[in-house]
């Protein structure tokens, strides 16, 4: 067998996009001495073929005949040119390499077999660089967790060959350990279990009178991890606030779930039970929604972490009921501000711009390949996300109403479908349940998972065919906890027996425990009746999808694990799922001290402030990101993330029409305001609910058919104050959901988002609650957008503007926090949403925009430049409270429940009649002159700007 090395590079006259992008990255690092970068793709192919055939592989398969050349062997830059440094980046052995798999298939199509293919990236850097600079460059271009860097022409890449696994059953001495030893054992094995949990496990094994095996401890650690079981939110909490003590038996059940239970909506099909929450769509179909976080992996490997974030959340709808078809993605990120020097970055942390770019690329590559439009999102910048960036990925799916529930029965087969199992993602669930430290980068690199979207796409395609034919009875995804969680959950009521040596592996060398807890991507588990096995296997085989029976569901209520016929573990299902000790925690919260409203200077005009807010990172256009996502695939995007006359203005929510033969749609929006949480997490959560609902109502969703999701991302909740702020937010979730009549249908939390630097200092994220909303739109043809439509139309502000600049973006640009956080008047908020919906439904509204970040002035500016029209506005007509006399508050206060709407003059009376009962006022009109003019109540212009200037200020900051 011969190994051929191919290098593929651009011809001299064609653009080397890869090299150019890397050169730009290097310049971004502040290294100016690198003058040029040449990129090449490297393929290492082992096969029994001759040179002639190798040349064919190079010319016909690997290199583009028009714009690329190839070379068999190593190329070295010509001597005499500038100093050249060769950097080659290889994948670590065992890391998924989708391109290699495709090349093997393609060589097979060409009529020859090859044994092994590996790919690498090669860069030749021209120019003088010292070792320190090279190190910096290498760190930027590669990721330690998954890649190996080879420098210079002489060095050889790592060997791909792994040693085979020798079976050796491992028993762990547990029964005779004391408490301290138990804790040490937990630490040594990276179980992330505490003393009480270890003790409970010890008691269990004492009762069955034997020492546990490693796989049993690992399975318990995973099932009981914070990530999988959410023990903090399910614990009983004694909460101290405002001099009172409140007791919750089960925090999440008493708040978030409690609201849903109390509302008891008949259109909710499945809430908080399955992988995603399910509601009715129409007579035939249901829709489901799930939002997950993938924070810890994205901190280590932004690209891979975010890609597997989206890949993972897609498997939630795919694993809900009998499987939904994903129809829309959402992505919300929290990063530190991107303009930082490298000196400000703690060890073990990636530069926020690199994180941002990597995360976006990961979501792009996975989402686009899956053919699912990414339609809604948001980005929030705050330096407290430096060590723990947050990556929320959501997915909406559709499924027939008679496929919303699955049920396993004794005797059915356990089948794993999709990706093969490798060593990737081992300990992902447990690792993400702890705090991040500067050492995580090296210690937990194996927790990073690598995705292959096409494997997932093939799996989805075939599963939907099998679902239509009713060939399986239950399905779930292999998410955090891998097979351990998936089979454990599906067999919880019955029992299951699994033969681990049957699980298809990516490569040799995995132990039985690694197979069981691997979090390798793109795997689903289904329950198949033996009589359907042949038919379902053919569906998978026909489209080259891996599907293997690995066990069966039993009736002994035990999880039994075997390897090559030998029993390696057995745990009672009851203990596995219900044995976790119940926790009680203490929490307290009191308002931060020393909050006050800053003194505000009165100004002649506020043009500069408006421009500053528009160009602040949180408000500025996210076009650079949005355009990298395919937001139109599937042909259902009715309201896209960008709109307006030049397709680059903001929209409040996305609307997708999932069925070709029906005009019914789904509006998708979100709300998140971490700054308010610095003042009061209760009102932060409430504002998030109000904003998410407002966003979907703005485009035309029915307020009585909105379902919401919660994603709590908090820092270390072992601290009473931190947990207390979470309790405050959870209380608001209950109050808000009940008041709006808007049930929570699914949620997820990610705690311990604090980073411990090598000097011991801690960076804790701000309390961050993401509320995602999905609302039914009866007729998408009635939807409205935020861009102004016609000069001469009248503008109204609906909802009361209050003196609520606390946590606002106006204060943020002034580096202030303030004290007056926006509060929600729940009765009016609901009524206003209903009236706005009614006005949209009856065709009274030409455009509608949510008034949120940056307040009234920003909302007006966005509507104007998005529609390419001007506004003459007058604060005299603004509905406001008596204490809202200051112009800054009127312009920039972020009071909730407010909408700006454009109404045709002939609809004035009908609109005004409809709005009776909620605060509203005429604040101006749309004009032909391309200016935003806002007058104070005495008629003086306090804002007067060209809309083009405002738009540029808004477009530019994130145009990377």
């Amino acid at each position: 067998m011969t190994q051929f090395r191919f290098e593929v590079f651009n011809k001299a006259d064609s653009v080397d996009v890869g090299g150019r992008n890397v050169l730009a990255d290097i310049k971004e690092l502040g290294i100016e001495t690198v003058l040029d970068v040449q990129s090449a793709r490297v393929f290492l192919i082992e096969g029994q073929f001759d040179d002639q055939f190798a040349k064919r592989i190079g010319g016909e398969l690997l290199a583009d005949p028009v714009c690329e050349d190839f070379h068999i062997g190593k190329t070295v830059p010509q001597a005499g040119l500038a100093k050249a440094t060769i950097v080659e980046i290889h994948l670590k052995s065992g890391v998924t390499d989708p391109v290699a798999e495709s090349v093997m298939t393609a060589i097979d199509d060409m009529g020859q077999k090859c044994q092994n293919v590996r790919t690498a990236r090669k860069y030749v850097l021209f120019g003088e660089i010292n070792d320190k600079q090279l190190k910096k460059i290498v760190r930027r271009l590669s990721n330690d967790c998954i890649e190996v860097v080879v420098i210079g022409a002489e060095t050889e890449p790592p060997s791909p060959h792994l040693a085979p696994y020798q079976f050796n059953l491992k028993t762990i001495e547990l029964l005779n350990l004391n408490e301290q030893q138990l804790v040490e054992l937990s630490k040594k094995m990276d179980l992330f279990l505490n003393a009480v949990e270890m003790k409970t496990i010890q008691d269990y094994f004492k009762s069955v009178r034997r020492e546990p095996t490693d796989i049993e401890l690992e399975a318990l650690a995973q099932t009981w991890s914070e990530h999988c079981v959410h023990k903090t939110l399910k614990s009983s909490v004694d909460f101290e606030f405002d001099g009172k003590e409140i007791h919750f038996d089960n925090l999440i059940k008493d708040t978030v779930f409690g609201a849903t239970k109390q509302l008891n909506k008949d259109w909710c099909i499945s809430v908080f039970k399955d992988n995603a929450g399910v509601i009715e769509f129409d007579d035939k179909d249901a829709i489901c929604f799930k939002v997950e976080t993938h924070n810890h992996p994205s901190a280590l490997d932004p690209y891979g972490g975010a890609a597997t974030g989206i890949g993972g959340v897609l498997r939630d709808p795919m694993g809900t009921g009998l499987g939904a078809k994903p129809i829309a993605n959402t992505d919300i990120f929290c990063f530190a501000e991107p303009d930082k020097s490298f000196d400000e970055i703690p060890r073990g942390v990636l530069h926020p711009k690199r994180v941002a770019k990597g995360v976006v690329a990961g979501v792009r590559d996975y989402g686009n390949r899956m053919g699912i439009p990414t339609v809604n999102g948001a980005i929030f910048f705050d330096d407290r996300y430096l060590g723990n960036p947050l990556v929320f990925c959501g997915n909406v799916g559709i499924m027939p109403r008679d496929k919303c529930f699955g049920k396993t029965s004794t005797g059915e087969l356990v089948m794993v479908v999709g990706g093969k199992t490798g060593r990737d993602g081992i300990h992902g669930a447990t690792f993400s349940s702890g705090a991040m430290t500067h050492e995580h980068e090296t210690v937990f690199s194996h927790a990073v998972q690598i995705g292959n979207a096409i494997t997932e796409k093939k799996t989805l395609d075939t599963l939907l065919q099998a679902r239509e034919l009713g060939l399986y009875t239950a399905i779930t995804d292999c998410g955090a906890g891998g097979l351990s969680s998936a089979v454990g959950e599906m067999g919880a009521e019955l029992g299951a027996e699994v033969e681990l040596s049957k699980v298809p592996l990516k490569y040799a060398g995995l132990s039985y425990t690694e197979i069981w807890i691997s979090e390798a991507q793109e795997r689903m588990v289904i329950a198949v009746k033996p009589e359907n096995l042949e038919q379902i296997s053919k569906i998978f085989a026909d489209e080259n999808v891996e599907a293997t029976v690995i066990g069966k569901f039993t009736d002994d209520k035990k999880l039994t694990l075997k390897y090559q016929g030998t029993q390696v573990g057995q745990i009672d299902m009851d203990f596995l799922h219900d044995g976790l000790p119940k926790y009680s925690r203490k929490a307290k919260w009191s308002p931060p001290e020393n909050l006050s409203e800053p003194a505000i200077e009165t100004k002649e005009n506020y043009n500069d402030d408006l421009v500053k807010i528009l160009s602040s990172y949180n408000v500025a256009s996210k076009e650079w990101i949005i355009r990298q996502y395919d937001h139109e695939v599937q042909g259902g995007s009715v309201i896209k993330p960008l709109g307006g006359i030049t397709n680059d203005g903001p929209n409040d929510a996305a609307v997708v029409q999932p069925k070709f033969d029906s005009d019914k749609g789904i509006a998708i929006g979100c709300g998140m305001n971490p700054l308010y949480g610095d003042i009061d997490p209760y009102w932060m959560a409430m504002a998030g609910i109000d904003e998410a609902i407002r966003n979907v109502v703005c485009v035309g969703a029915r307020p009585d058919r909105i379902a919401i999701l919660d994603n709590f991302c908090w820092a270390d909740c072992k601290k009473e104050e931190t947990l207390g702020s979470l309790v405050r937010a959870a209380q608001a979730c209950f109050d808000g959901a009940v008041a709006f009549g808007t049930p929570f249908i699914s949620g997820k939390d990610s705690l311990n988002n604090n980073f411990i630097c090598d000097d011991g200092t801690e960076i804790a994220i701000p309390a961050t609650l993401l509320i995602s909303a999905m609302g039914i739109v009866d007729d998408v043809k009635k939807c409205v957008t935020a861009d102004l439509k016609t000069a001469g139309n009248i503008l109204f502000a609906v909802g009361l503007t209050r003196n609520e600049l606390g946590g606002s973006h106006y204060y943020k640009i002034k580096k202030q926090l303030g004290a007056n956080v926006p509060k929600v008047d729940l009765r009016t908020a609901k009524l206003t949403a209903e009236k706005i919906y009614k006005a949209i439904d009856t065709g009274l509204i030409a455009s509608c925009h949510d008034c949120s970040e940056g307040g009234l002035a920003v909302a007006l500016a966005e509507m104007a430049f998005s529609g390419g029209l001007g506004i003459a506005a007058d604060l005299k007509g603004l509905p406001k409270t008596d204490d809202c006399a200051s112009l800054t508050a009127q312009l920039f206060s972020e009071s909730c429940s407010r909408y700006i709407v454009e109404v045709k003059p002939e609809k004035f009376n009908d609109f005004a009649k409809l709005m009776l009962g909620v605060p509203f006022g005429q604040i101006g009109q749309v004009i032909d002159i391309k200016k935003l003019i806002i007058k104070d109540s005495s008629g003086k212009n306090i804002v007067e700007s060209e809309i083009a200037d405002l738009k540029n200020a808004w477009l530019k900051p994130l145009k990377w």
Partner: protein, 260 residues
């Protein structure tokens, strides 16, 4: 009237097959989505269809290069069948990834029958994936898929859409043979750099056809604009004319009805 049968090719990573099938059905065709494995097993299937559409997506992940692995598979398993399909006077349409596949199989990728691939589609000049709407000015008189004089508006969504010719002779030959179908322009029909020409394509070329005019590939997605509410700012438009993407499918269906 002739029953128009269209096949929408499926393969690992193809992801625009449903909406492409829908667009063909709107235009009156009976459209079936069939996996490439089924066609390789039984190429006779092709006999009963008059239109073959290779839709958009990321076939085999666009590994190695966009469309390359599927093109390689088709060259080695279906070459003769596809040539016969075209010789029989039938229609082939490649959209986005399908266009890349047609170019890389050589079906659209050359001007001399016996040569290797002479035209390619490669990385956008802007270096990244772009989703945006573009205006397309029709040009070819022989291409049966288009309407003369009708400038259309469609979305693109690709990272590799730059059409590149091996040399000037190939480029000239494509032009003199009237094979350039659409060029990227602005709303008034003027050429320009990014974003008007979103990928840096030679001569702003967005689509071209073979010498028969019955095989066309285009980077934009006509199947994403077959209803008015798919327009990116339909809420601003009073005029509810036929959605531009429909024209491509309508013309294909009409051609089959008139010629078979």
């Amino acid at each position: 009237m002739t029953q128009v049968n269209a096949i929408v090719l499926r393969a690992a990573g193809i992801n625009c097959d449903m909406e492409t099938q829908h667009a063909l059905q709107l235009s009156g065709a009976k459209a079936e989505r069939i996996h490439v494995n089924r066609i390789i097993e039984n190429p006779e299937i092709l006999e009963s269809f008059q239109i073959l559409v290779i839709p958009g997506g990321f076939s085999y992940g666009d590994d190695v290069a966009a469309g390359k692995i599927l093109a390689n598979q088709m060259i080695h398993h279906l070459s003769d069948r596809l040539n016969k399909f075209i010789e029989d006077g039938k229609l082939v349409l490649g959209i986005c990834n399908g266009f890349q596949v047609l170019v890389k199989t050589g079906i659209l990728g050359k001007v001399d029958d016996n040569s290797k691939q002479q035209i390619t589609i490669t990385n956008n000049d802007c270096g990244k994936f772009e989703d945006r709407w573009v205006y397309l000015e029709p040009s070819s008189r022989k291409c049966i898929f288009i309407e003369q004089g009708r400038r259309i508006y469609l979305p693109i969504a690709h990272g590799e859409g730059k059409v590149l010719f091996e040399n000037n002779d190939v480029f000239e030959k494509i032009k003199t043979d009237d094979r350039v179908v659409f060029r990227y322009v602005d709303e008034n029909g003027n050429f320009g750099d990014f974003p008007i020409n979103p990928n840096g394509s030679t001569d702003s070329i967005a689509a071209f056809c073979d010498s028969t005019g019955r095989v066309m590939g285009l980077m934009p997605h006509p199947e994403r604009f077959v209803r008015n509410t798919q327009h990116p700012h339909w809420t601003r438009l009073e005029d509810k004319t036929r959605a531009d993407g429909r024209t491509i499918f309508d013309n294909a269906v009409r051609y089959v009805q008139q010629n078979f």
